[in-house]
Subunit: 362 residues, 2 copies
């Protein structure tokens, strides 16, 4: 088992990465302070893993709430189901919420923990690769609004993150690939050596070789943790973690939540970000082909949906949280391994990128 | 104009108290950082004060959202109306929310500010005595759940509080009295000299003598600020601010939000807290009569609703946020001017208090 520490002063917490951690009662015991626990999960994950988790929590008074699975349920209404469960079972301020599932469960459980009685403890047990390498670090919690993704939420840190890599064995291959999009992102924004390592280990990652996948998760979490430690509430550098996301959010919103997976949209968005960086003369055109090759190796899209025109992107990109006073701020690459946030690019170049990348086939 | 500073380190903020502050453009300008402002108010306050406020904000890009008035609308659904207005008008992270209204508007606007894009600035412009002396200090924001009052929320501090005492001239007398319940509370829990002052100035307060009401607001805010500075997130001493509130919440919940005003319920609850303190031998029986006399002078109830039996209280009191592991924690008085939080009292004494105080006539 690997233990990483996310360094945020009084809000620091450990990330445990290893096999069979889901059933490890001693890990939970370290981070639960009261007697009450509420497990929040969804109807896909519950039949596979809920019993194992409940067995590991047999020393506590445990309740659970099973939510419908899917990004379309990441809403205030679903959040209210968690509050109702907590209140019906009379959970007090010392309760601990445990998020068992992917990013949607993690984001909603974390936000519920931030708001319930103005703040209770929570532990993340992410069961998808995406949530293991993304939402397990950073404390971004929240829900979607019909007018925008992740527009309602809080910065709120878990007490611990427990990553059992064995849970990936039941993950659908399409979701594994989607998670790898975020892993590749870390290489692009901060770590070109890791990016090269990924190019030579794509097959091991897809076949869930334990050493390879553990290393990829660990390196991703370390990268994210170092960026978050610099800038916990995204005043500044933290925004580089959104490489590909502004384009990707436009795709997810336009196509309807859940039709394109987040990681798939981010993959296409990263190609767009590189394309624009190339038009600015920052990276060579060969880097776009290199990224496309890696994305194809792990079965990810290399362009936006065929049904989406260039004009479909801008309205969604204009409501992005990074924007200030009307201009679209984007994460671009000065080179592979070094990302910057900027709104200083010709809008014509952005149009050309959208034109070029939205008309490609997936 | 008086300026008090609420001392919370990086989250410190000023409270301005004076006449005609609502129209003072320079006050707002000090605390608005971006170009966008969203005024949140309700359909009672908007016709009286919204235009004055909007005139003072003419240098900014200002939108407003008018919510239905009433505690029954302090819900996640109403909160969502604020988010919708912000998103429809494309407000970004630098927007400033301004709460124009009473405690419900302040609590919801503060919570919306805490959650919108994971946190934007807000300014409180409280227009009721209750909100001026209570929610203007302390950073408690939130909404109700059908299963419990204020169960969903955040600790989130405003950038400034602007108290225009002239707004009290349009406040219904019943609400003025309800606000005085919280003013009296500060005397009981921390300041017996202020309590004596209140006994001799009840008439001036009811007639809205500017000097008297300004002094009462200032002293109340100072008292609350000193308690909150000791314990921002209510781990401990801050709970004394809830004198009368555990009983009061039971009354409000049982009677249905809005039928008993919060301050009215707190008034009856304070009598119950004193009654129980007396049964424990901590305060003299004459202190109960003294409090009842003061409450009567300012037209407040001195007992719970006639329709509510002693048994009606306990189920509601059991879900109070102060409770830990099943016992009801109460704020009681060791003496007038000194409150403590305790669950160390015979449950029989509590039953006797509920019996005695619920059967009295209002």
């Amino acid at each position: 088992m690997k233990v990483l520490e996310v360094d945020l002063g009084a809000r620091s917490y450990p990330i445990y990465i290893g096999e069979a951690l889901l059933a490890d009662a001693s890990l939970y015991a370290k981070h639960i302070v009261g007697r009450q626990v509420m497990v929040v999960t969804n109807d896909t994950v519950a039949p596979i893993y809920l019993d194992t988790l409940l067995s590991a929590l047999s020393d506590y008074s445990v309740d659970s709430v099973v939510l419908p699975d899917g990004e379309q349920y990441k809403t205030l209404d679903t959040l209210n189901l968690i509050f109702s469960a907590l209140l019906e079972k009379k959970h007090n301020r010392k309760t601990t919420l445990i998020a068992l599932g992917g990013g949607v469960i993690g984001d909603m459980t974390g936000f519920a923990a931030a708001c319930y009685q103005r703040g209770v403890n929570f532990i993340q047990v992410p069961t998808t690769l995406l949530s293991q390498v993304d939402s397990s670090v950073g404390g971004k919690t929240g829900v979607n609004h019909v007018l925008g993704k992740n527009m309602i939420g809080a910065f709120y840190q878990p007490k611990a993150v427990i990553i059992d890599v064995n849970t990936l064995l039941t993950l659908p291959p399409r979701e594994l690939s989607a998670g790898l999009a975020e892993v590749i992102k870390y290489g692009l924004i901060r770590d070109d050596a890791f990016y090269k390592w990924l190019e030579s280990h794509a097959d091991q990652l897809l076949s869930l070789d334990v050493d390879a996948i553990s290393y990829a998760i660990e390196t991703s979490c370390l990268c994210k943790a170092s960026v978050v430690a610099e800038d916990e509430t995204e005043k500044d550098v933290r925004a580089i973690l959104n490489l590909g996301h502004t384009f990707g959010h436009a795709i997810e919103t336009h196509m309807g939540y859940g039709n394109w997976l987040h990681g798939e949209a981010v993959a296409a968005g990263m190609v767009m970000a590189l394309d624009l960086s190339c038009r600015l003369g920052w990276v060579a055109e060969s880097e776009i082909d290199r990224l496309k090759l890696l994305l194809k190796q792990v079965s990810l899209p290399i362009a936006g949906p065929a049904s989406m025109t260039a004009d479909d992107y801008l309205p969604h990109m204009l409501v992005d949280k990074k924007n200030v006073d009307g201009s679209i701020r984007l994460v671009l690459l000065e080179r592979v391994g070094f990302a910057v946030v900027t709104s200083n690019y010709p809008s014509k170049a952005l149009s050309q990128t959208l034109q070029a990348c939205s008309s490609n086939k997936r």
